[in-house]
């Protein structure tokens, strides 16, 4: 029964990301066959919306059962509205997807098989990593569901807090899990440990596959690029220091989005912008990924500027490098804004005292 609920939540998320991805598609007006970015784009757009809307009610201690009711209406209503209003775009996307699957049957089947195997491994052997983090991050959600409030109780000690945690206040990923658990009347562990890890892997895999398609024309090379990437990731899981461990075993944390989805997305965006500095879709996708990722983790504020730093030399000697550099600044800007807000919280200027 609980597994059925996990599958229902997974399907709900996929439909949601697809629907929100349609907005992205509509805004960019892209006629290209880039349906692979639709799901990640939808995921980050939906996450951004939740991030923006939840902070004020969270601060004002609106009870979780009220929040979940309101969010259920916003969530369901928005998805329905998008699917009705953008039904033509949806039809086009599905048609192009069907055409793509037909033309790339072998790669599509291999991709599907890989995802099923990877998901199966993560689901069946994904125990806790031996770190303190489960009791920090996951217990936050269980505590929120139990207390009917977001972030007002210490997740580990179980005592009431005087102020919201400056580190966790803006990481609304856990708040979202609590809201979803309440909506579906399911234990938070089902959403956190069954649904989200697979979603992270699938969206990340889609981006890597899209990158492979951008770099190589031949389908066999595209698949080999994807396989090489995955093999390197799997081979380095042995170290706690590397992000591959997150992707397979610490995927109950929002931070997983950085190695699994965000950094490959930044690379993909830059590769496309290198080919075409005026690629509006790539720039918007990048912006959406960066801003939407704040919902999952604040660590993005450090990671994106450094990742961009590494990619600056790639733009040297390129025509219209100024344009690409401008795009890069745009991508980094949300990180600086977020960092400024974080510093204001740390300094106590933005007061997070629980009233």
């Amino acid at each position: 029964m609980l597994i059925c609920k996990a599958i229902i939540i997974f399907i709900a998320y996929m439909i949601t990301f697809f629907a929100y991805g349609l907005i992205f598609r509509k805004v960019t007006g892209s006629g290209q066959n880039n349906s692979g970015v639709l799901i990640p784009a939808g995921m980050f757009l939906y996450s951004l919306l939740f991030f923006v809307l939840i902070l004020a009610p969270k601060y004002h201690r609106v009870p979780l059962h009220v929040l979940s009711l309101v969010w259920a209406v916003i969530w369901g209503g928005s998805v329905l509205l998008i699917l009705i209003l953008l039904r033509r775009t949806a039809g086009e996307v599905l048609a192009s997807l069907g055409k793509f699957l037909k033309e790339n049957l072998l790669n599509s089947l291999l991709f599907l098989a890989f995802n099923v195997l990877q998901a199966g491994f993560v689901e069946l052997f994904g125990r806790w990593s031996s770190s303190n983090n489960p009791s920090n991050y996951v217990a936050y959600v269980t505590t929120a569901v139990f207390t009917d409030e977001l972030g007002t109780t210490h997740p580990v000690k179980g005592v009431l807090l005087r102020r919201f945690s400056s580190k966790m206040f803006t990481e609304t990923y856990m708040d979202h899990s609590a809201v979803v658990a309440k909506i579906f009347r399911v234990h938070p562990l089902i959403e956190i440990r069954w649904v989200m890890p697979v979603l992270f892997l699938i969206t990340g895999n889609l981006i890597v596959f899209m990158a492979a398609r951008e770099i190589f024309r031949e389908r066999s090379k595209q698949w080999l690029f994807f396989a090489g990437y995955q093999a390197a990731v799997a081979c380095t899981t042995g170290s706690y220091l590397y992000s591959s461990f997150y992707m397979y075993f610490r995927n109950y944390e929002g931070k997983t989005v950085i190695p699994a989805v965000l950094l490959p997305a930044v690379f993909y965006v830059f590769w496309r912008m290198y080919q075409d500095p005026w690629d509006k879709e790539a720039l918007l996708f990048g912006l959406l990924c960066v801003t939407g990722s704040f919902h999952f983790t604040g660590t993005t504020m450090y990671m994106i500027p450094v990742a961009c730093l590494g990619l600056i030399p790639a733009m040297f000697g390129k025509k219209r490098a100024g344009r690409v550099f401008g795009n890069m600044v745009l991508l980094v800007l949300p990180c600086f804004l977020y960092a400024a807000a974080y510093l204001l919280i740390k300094a106590g200027i933005i007061n997070l005292v629980i009233r």
Partner: protein, 305 residues
């Protein structure tokens, strides 16, 4: 595991950095790192213009920045980034470079059919090769107090230890109302997942303090000192987390009962085979036993068992 730049000089940090980075890497992981270095050089020499830029220069910059203890020292010190910094940034460029290198190498073969077949064959080989390093990591995952030989499937649908589920059910049955919050004393091993499953049970102890006593052995002198100074929280934390003593020691269970009462603990969750088990047993009533733990209700009430 964290590298703390604030407490060490640059030289100390340099040593710690490489000890941790290389010490933590398994043999396969090291091969991947050295292979990556070689690939970056090869791409810089033989790669196409785009590849040289994206997989050569850019990747090399990230590599130097992320695997350079001097830059990491200052970044950790002033930006409070610790190991996160290179943990996240090192892998994605490396994995993408591997992907590119494999595909580019196969691309060297002119005959399209042969190169396509080879591409699929190589992909199968490398994916199969990567299974072993991946599955071997599972022996480092959390299995509670049970030994972990690796590839241990999850115990239940909640993906927590069976012990945890049993403990929570015992306490819930005893307290009657699931909405009631109870204070229970439990050790680090259950600490990791008890509150992820049931937030109605809390210990009031921090992880840091729990961890502090795990490496220590029980000593009579220390127990008496803590008890004498009425450091009840410390005493209980020490009792529940410290390792069993090498030789017999004595301690008055009444002092434990006093500490439990003073700190308002309602339950104690203790490993059944632990040395301190009889002491805690004397402080209350056993209300349930799991695979590895005994749940004791503090005070001499009527047992539900």
């Amino acid at each position: 595991m964290a590298i703390n730049a604030n407490n060490s000089s640059l030289l100390e940090f340099y040593k710690i950095f490489w000890n941790i980075v290389l010490g933590d890497m398994g043999p396969v992981c090291r091969k991947v790192l050295y292979g990556y270095l070689a690939l970056v050089i090869l791409i810089l020499i033989f790669g196409k213009k785009e590849a040289r830029k994206f997989f050569g220069i850019s990747a090399a910059i990230l590599l130097v920045v992320c695997l350079n203890p001097f830059s990491v020292y200052y970044i950790s010190k002033y930006a409070d980034l610790s190991t996160r910094y290179f943990r996240f940034l090192w892998l994605p460029p490396a994995a993408l470079t591997y992907g590119y290198a494999f595909a580019a190498a196969v691309n060297l073969i002119r005959q399209k059919r042969v190169s396509a077949l080879l591409a699929y064959a190589v992909s199968v080989v490398i994916l199969v090769y990567s299974v072993k390093p991946l599955t071997s990591v599972t022996s480092r995952l959390y299995t509670g107090v049970s030994p972990n030989p690796g590839m241990q499937m999850i115990d239940n649908v909640y993906k927590v230890e069976n012990d945890t589920l049993q403990i929570c059910n015992i306490i819930e049955k005893d307290k009657g109302d699931p909405a009631v919050t109870v204070k229970a004393l439990y050790g680090y091993e259950v600490f990791l997942d008890i509150r992820t499953y049931d937030a109605s049970i809390y210990s009031g102890l921090s992880l840091k303090k729990q961890n502090k006593y795990r490496s220590r052995k029980l000593r009579e002198k220390r127990l008496n000192k803590m008890s004498g100074n009425k450091k009840y929280k410390k005493l209980l934390n020490y009792l529940i987390n410290a390792q069993d003593p090498d030789r017999e020691i004595r301690f008055d269970p009444d002092k434990i009962a006093e500490a439990l009462e003073e700190k308002a603990y309602q339950y104690v969750i203790v490993q059944t085979d632990r040395y301190v088990m009889p002491w805690f047993e004397a402080c209350g009533t056993i209300i349930g036993v799991t695979d590895h733990y005994t749940v004791i209700k503090v005070g001499k009430q009527n047992s539900l068992m």
